[in-house]
Symmetry: C2
Subunit: 153 residues, 2 copies
Amino acid sequence: MSHNKYHVIQDEPHRWRNIEELVYKDEDGAATFKDVTRRVLFGEDHVDGMEVRYFEVDAGGHTTLEKHEHTHLVIPIKGKGACLVGDEVLPLAMHDLVYVPSWAWHQFRADENEVFGFLCLVKVERDRPTLPTQDELNEMKSNPAVANFIRHQ
Amino acid sequence: MSHNKYHVIQDEPHRWRNIEELVYKDEDGAATFKDVTRRVLFGEDHVDGMEVRYFEVDAGGHTTLEKHEHTHLVIPIKGKGACLVGDEVLPLAMHDLVYVPSWAWHQFRADENEVFGFLCLVKVERDRPTLPTQDELNEMKSNPAVANFIRHQ
C-alpha cells in the first residue's frame, strides 16, 4: 500500500482508495442538476493550484447549466455523454478531451442508457458559477440544437 | 465532425483525430529512454498555460530518469507500469493518478509484457530536465528498491 499522498490508486473501476463520494454541489442550485456525484482526487494542496475531480452522471442525468470565469479541462473516462460548450453540443466518450473556456455556457449530460464519468481539472482559486437569467436562456434557446440539449429548472 | 479546437476526439483506443505521433524527445538524451512515443493533445494555446500530452511506453521500455523545476500530473490510461518519484517506486495502472513535485527524480517504466500509456499535464512555460550526475546516481542506488528500478545510460 502506498502512503504517498501524491499517489491516488484506483481500486476498482472509477473508484479510488480513500476517496469519498460527495454530493455534486453543497450549495444552492440543487434543482439545477440531476443524478451527479463528485470525488476530489487531488485537492487544494496538490498540483500547482489545480484540483482534479471525478464526476459521475447517471444515465439520463445532467450537471448544472452555468458559466464562470474559471476554465475546465474535461476528460471522459466512463461511458458516453455530451456537453454544451458555448453554442456547440459535442458528443463525448472515453478519453476524448474538451476544454471549457472562461464564461462559456456549459452543461454535461449522460446518454440515456449510459453512466457517464469524467475527470475535470480546475483551479483551486476559482469564482462561483453563474446561472442563466431568463433572457439568457431565451437567447440560448434561439439555437435549436442548444434548445434541444439544455436542461434547466 | 467537430471543428472545435477545444474538442479532441479519440477515434480508436489511445489514438486521437488529427493528433500525430511524435518522438519522445527531439533533443539530447536519446540514449536515456527506450521505446517511448509522445502525442500533444492540448498544446500551448489551451488550458490556461497547461499542456496535455499522451506518452506511450512499449513493453519493457522507459522514459528518461530526470528532474526539473516544473511538475507533472500523470494519469495512466493504458496498461500497467511503475514510476520512480523521489525515492519511492509506485505501481501504476489505469486511472491511477500520480503527481511529480518540483525537483523530484522520476522515471516511468512499462511492465515487461504491457504497453503502458499515460496522460501527463505540464505547464507550457517550463524548464529543461536535468539528468543525474554520477554522484547523484550513486546516491540513488544506495536505496536497493531504487537501484533495482532505474534505467540509465
